[in-house]
């Protein structure tokens, strides 16, 4: 039961700053998802937490224990941490069972215990009977699973996953992810999950941290980062978003394409608003007061559909639940039924 506290971390490599005054906090037993574009430093952050890189400044705490203070670090092998790198990195000279049992100290565990734990892990990842296979005989997804098992076998207090599920097919990904998360919760393990999959971040995590250029821009619960992003860029990071030109008027209202109120007040501020696609309703009650548009495209996903509508000069994507009976070419009325998230130009965090 260990929390993870990172404070003003700074990591450079070859005179280039990779992590810049980064702060992140994960409560004990929490699963944190780390979302961000490639190159923003996610892997570096993970490796700093694992103790594989020495920072130049900042602190890292595991619970009460200070593991990293400026460039003084507790060596990696002294931190009880699970690390699953992006490529799995199985030991090619050991079979699956030996890979999984690698971290189990033979001085502490008996042979039977080791065998038992290995069996449990194989069962967890759905690879019973694979004990004696060599890593080069496994598919990419199987290798990932073994790497996961290897990290979890030592029941670490903190686990770091670097895009572990990306090599798996959709069904396997969902199932395995669910199992792994159950396991983590059962042991109250603190975890950081680096992912580029927005939905995976929202569904798996207790807290989502959005990273950009070596900094954490926003951290909060999935609902928070989804509903209340602090910038349009963050909004796009956490889900589909419509970013529309908008103006704040002198009478306090906001003018934008879907706003039915036609005010004649002066524009005071320019900016953008962010709307989620499901926050727009479409219906056939066309009127002169409604904002109308023509359906140009329908992407049907089974449980819902994304409708592309041409409204005036804009092209808007709207999410509606299936089933529906709209068709391409139809004229529909659009209604915005969500919060108004206005971001003024020049005053918004990236």
């Amino acid at each position: 039961m260990t929390s993870l506290e990172i404070s003003h971390l700074r990591v450079s490599f070859n005179k280039k700053v990779i992590l810049d005054d980064l702060s992140l906090s994960v409560a004990e037993g929490q699963i944190a998802a780390l979302l961000g574009p490639s190159g923003c430093g996610k892997t570096t952050l993970l490796r700093s937490i694992a103790g594989l890189i020495a920072p130049s400044d900042g602190t890292i705490r595991f619970g009460k224990q200070l593991v990293s203070l400026s460039s003084l670090v507790l060596p990696s092998h002294k931190r009880k941490i699970g690390y699953v790198p992006q490529e799995g990195a199985l030991f090619p000279h050991l079979n699956v069972a030996d890979n999984i049992a690698f971290g189990l100290d033979r001085a502490v565990f008996t042979k039977d215990q080791i065998r038992q734990i290995t069996k449990e892990m194989l069962s967890l990842i759905g690879m019973e009977g694979f004990d004696n296979r060599a890593p080069n005989q496994l598919s990419g997804g199987q290798q990932t699973r073994v790497a996961l098992a290897r990290a979890l076998a030592i029941k670490p207090a903190i686990v770091l996953f670097d895009e572990p599920f990306s090599a798996l097919d959709a069904q396997l990904r969902t199932d395995l992810r669910a199992d792994v998360i159950d396991l983590l919760r059962a042991h109250n393990t603190t975890a950081i999950l680096v992912t580029h999959d927005r939905e995976e971040a929202l569904v798996s995590a207790d807290t989502v941290a959005l990273m950009r250029e070596g900094k954490i821009i926003q951290q909060g619960s999935p609902e928070q980062v989804y509903s209340s992003p602090i910038s349009p860029a963050i909004a796009i990071s956490t889900g589909d978003a419509l970013v529309l030109r908008a103006f704040k008027l002198s009478d306090g209202t906001t003018s934008y394409i879907l706003n039915t109120q036609k005010s004649l007040a002066q524009s005071v501020e320019t900016g953008h608003i962010v709307i989620r696609p499901e926050e727009i309703k479409i219906h056939r009650n066309l009127s002169s007061n409604s904002i109308n548009g023509r359906i140009a495209k329908i992407d049907y996903y089974g449980h819902d559909a994304m409708i592309g509508i041409n409204v005036e000069h804009e092209y808007l994507q709207v999410r509606i639940p299936g089933p529906f009976d709209f068709s391409i070419g139809e004229q529909v009325a659009l209604e915005h039924i969500g919060p108004l998230r206005f971001f003024a130009d020049g005053k918004t965090a990236i």
Partner: protein, 510 residues
């Protein structure tokens, strides 16, 4: 490609390999013919007499010592260079590789000049270890580079400190590489004559040479040569059994992470100390002695003969390396696919040939070459001798380079409608070429230093740097030998340096 074409190709490949193996057996056939000149009783007598057993024991002990020392220091230094953060890290590898440029007899001369009482078994082990350490270092470095940095990070995160990580994760994966280097080192130690004879140690090669001198008894020399071959065969088999224990499955990596370098002070100091000591002992001291020997008794340098010898050396060594390349190609191609027992036997035959001293190969080719009329004592025949002498090296690098071409790549190319030849040209060659090129350079380097076969097979009047060194030192004129020795080392240093560069080295071997 249809099966008839496939079978035809396979047949021609196998016959090419067979021809090359047969060529490499020329010395063996020669030895057999010579040995059979003796009645069986005498042969047995020769084999079992105390002297033969003593010499065999000395040879075995020496090889074991050299292999043990070079393995230990080689793996240690290579690991230090790879894992530890050192200033000017990229430059530090140069002194560890430069000894490749220095012939063992030059090493020995310089150390004798420095320490007059320098002689005996320990001295021989010392010199031979110096000469062969670069092989192990280069080969081990190549192996280390192929170990994914992420594995080390995972191991450490699982609670292993550096030492444990090295022995449980790194070492098992480089064992095969290190043992291949040990093979080269051991075979070289077995075949060396220059150093051991100067140091008064009688190994099998010295014994063979003495037989030629004693009674001009080439049959006796041939019989003793078979003892050497028998030992070499055992040695090769022993090395193979070690090699197969280590895993050969390579998970084809699309990228590998660079691990952070270790910054522990004691380790950094130790590695620096080891590298610098080796550099001083193996490079600085020979150079120093050569230079002082020259300047203490300066004679006018014959620039013209220096230039001619240099050009001759480079030319014939280069041709030899290319011939070796051509000869090793069929076997390389064969061994990079599915390994057949035919391929294995061919490889072993060629590798065992590396144990034979230059004088034996030289005489074998004299025996055959003198019957070839105009071809005898030509540059071409000499180059061919070099190719034969160092074929093992060429085969080793050829095989490993071709093995790096992932099977999937070949198959994908085939689906694009490429025939076998196009696949070789457009896909396999670009991937394997760097490694093969570097192996060829290694043969070139070794050929430049060769002496006994050169003396016998060169065109009359054709001087290499090695023959010039010999002709001066044989009458004790070390000061006259020095310029040639210096030029030889400097010229050879260029390809040595090239091989040592990190991005190149790992493709030279494994």
């Amino acid at each position: 490609m249809n099966t008839r074409m496939q079978r035809a190709l396979k047949l021609s490949l196998n016959s090419a390999v067979g021809m090359v193996a047969a060529l490499s057996m020329i010395p063996l056939v020669y030895l057999f013919v010579r040995a059979s000149d003796k009645p069986m009783g005498e042969i047995v007598q020769l084999l079992v007499r105390q002297k033969t057993l003593d010499v065999l024991t000395t040879t075995i002990l020496m090889v074991v010592c050299v292999v043990a020392i070079t393995l230990f220091f080689g793996v240690a230094i290579a690991s230090g260079l790879h894992f530890v953060h050192l200033p000017l890290r990229r430059l530090l590898i140069i002194p560890t590789v430069l000894p490749l440029a220095i012939p063992s007899y030059v090493f020995t001369y310089t150390w004798i000049a420095l320490v007059p009482s320098f002689s005996g078994f320990a001295a021989a082990v010392f010199i031979l270890s110096l000469t062969t350490l670069p092989y192990i270092i280069l080969v081990t470095l190549a192996g280390l580079r192929s170990v994914d940095g992420s594995q080390i990070e995972v191991a450490r995160s699982l609670g292993l400190n550096y030492r444990q990580t090295f022995f449980r994760v790194v070492f098992p994966q480089i064992r095969g590489h290190a043992s291949a280097g040990a093979l080269l080192a051991g075979l070289y130690a077995m075949s060396d004559f220059g150093a051991v004879s100067l140091l008064n140690v009688e190994t099998l090669t010295v014994s063979i040479q003495n037989m030629y001198r004693a009674s001009y008894d080439r049959s006796a020399a041939a019989v003793i040569s078979f003892v050497l071959i028998a030992f070499a065969v055992l040695f090769v088999i022993a090395e193979e059994s070690i090699k197969t224990k280590s895993p050969d499955g390579q998970i084809v990596k699309t990228f590998s992470t660079k691990h952070a370098l270790i910054r522990k002070r004691p380790l950094q100091v130790t590695v620096m100390f080891a590298v610098i000591t080796f550099g001083v002992v193996a490079v600085v001291i020979p150079f120093y002695v050569l230079l002082t020997r020259f300047f203490s008794n300066p004679v006018g340098i014959d620039w013209r003969s220096l230039l001619t010898a240099t050009i001759s050396t480079i030319t014939v060594a280069a041709i030899g390396a290319i011939i070796a390349l051509v000869l090793s190609a069929p076997l390389g191609v064969l061994l990079s696919g599915k390994v057949t027992s035919f391929g294995r036997i061919a490889e072993r035959t060629i590798v065992v040939g590396a144990a034979l001293p230059g004088v034996v190969v030289g005489l074998a080719l004299v025996s055959i070459g003198s019957k070839l009329g105009a071809l005898y004592q030509t540059t071409l025949l000499l180059a061919f001798a070099y190719a034969l002498l160092f074929l093992a090296k060429s085969v080793a690098s050829m095989t490993s380079s071709l093995a790096r071409v992932p099977n999937g790549v070949k198959e994908v190319a085939a689906t694009f409608g490429m025939n076998q030849w196009s696949v070789v040209r457009k896909v396999i060659a670009p991937i394997a070429a760097p490694g093969i090129g570097l192996g060829t350079i290694l043969v070139f380097l070794t050929a430049m230093k060769e002496l006994p076969a050169t003396l016998m097979l060169r065109p009359t009047g054709f001087e290499t740097l090695a023959t010039q060194i010999w002709s001066s030192t044989s009458i004790n004129r070390f000061n006259e030998a020095a310029p040639f020795a210096l030029i030889l080392v400097l010229v050879a240093a260029i390809p040595s340096f090239y091989i040592s560069r990190p991005d190149k080295a790992d493709r030279a071997f494994i």
